[in-house]
Structures are given as C-alpha cells and as structure tokens.
Subunit: 102 residues, 2 copies
C-alpha cells in the first residue's frame, strides 16, 4: 500500500549507471537486440536498463552485464571498499552478526 519514493539524487545515480552500461555496449559494437537475445530479456527491458529505470530487477541488470562479456562481476564493486564502516569496525575490533541497540 505504501510506496517507497526514490530521491531525485538516487534517480540520477541510476541514470548515470545506465549510461555507463550503454557506453560499454556501444564500445563493443553490440546492438540492443543482441543483448536482449543473449540475456533472454525483451528489448524493452534492455532499453529500461540503459535508461536506469529503478523498477528493473537487479537480476536483469546482472544478466545484461553478463551479456556484455562478463561485466556482471562489476557488481562486486558495490560496497567493496566500505571506508566509513571499516573505520567504525576498527574502533571496536569486532563485527557482530546481529545488532543490539544501546
């Protein structure tokens, strides 16, 4: 019933990400319909991804990236270096499996 609203700022990030994916495809000279065919998705969905629409599932993003010659591993770059988190962690010298608020 309640609909989570996406911030303009976050929307821009996704749009930029979509553009980067599009550029990666263009550099490889692969038409959208080939990416669609390789990933098993519709051409529509590929268009949505390159636009950076928030509604597309991350699995579909991953499959498109994969169709771009193994670029799905690029997703591992997300949160890889968590500098702020590491700092907090180092101050405490432990990382629990659950949180207990003080």
């Amino acid at each position: 019933m309640s609909k989570a609203v996406i911030l303009p700022q976050t929307e821009r990030i996704l749009a930029t990400m979509g553009e980067q994916i599009k550029l990666a495809r263009l550099r490889r000279h692969i038409p959208m319909y080939i990416i669609a065919s390789r990933s098993g998705l519709s051409r529509q969905t590929v268009i949505s991804i390159e636009k950076g629409l928030p509604s597309v599932s991350i699995g579909n993003y991953a499959m498109v990236l994969h169709a771009l010659q193994g670029m799905d591993s690029e997703l591992l770059n997300v949160c890889k270096d968590d500098k702020m988190g590491r700092t907090i962690q180092d101050l405490e010298l432990k990382t629990p499996k659950r949180i207990r608020r003080r």
Copy 2:
C-alpha cells in the same frame, strides 16, 4: 512467456553483493528494521536484498544503500572502468551513438 534464466555464476555474484551490503549495515550497527523504515521498504525486501535475490528492483537496492548513509553512490562503480571497452575504443578513435553490424 519466455523466462530469462539466471546463471549460477551470476547468482553468486549477487549473493556476494548482498553480503557486502549486510556487512556495511552491521559495521554501522543499524538493525534491518531501521533500514526498512528509512528506505520506506518492508523488512521482507531488506532481507531479500541482503540475500542477493535477483528479483529485487535496483531502485530498492539503491534506496537501501542510501539508507546506509549515502552508499547509493557505490552503484557508480559499476562499469566505471571499462578497460576492454576502452581498448576497443582507442583502436578506433571514435565512439558512435549507434551500432552498424559488419
């Protein structure tokens, strides 16, 4: 009608990404239900994201990352450095807006 299948390899990538997001949350001592509340999503969806389920929308991923203190910009790391693509590009000294297959 046709259902795109996700490769085990790609599934693992998403699972790892989910774990990284979970770790970022744990380092900050924020319970899941707070992330849910901040992002406007259900607790369910936060759980799905930390498991790396492919079905969750990238918008929801982004909102959870944002709730983790501006980590949505981490998404910009995807396809940022496209080495292979750059190489192709440099060999041609141009980047067209559309593709013409040979």
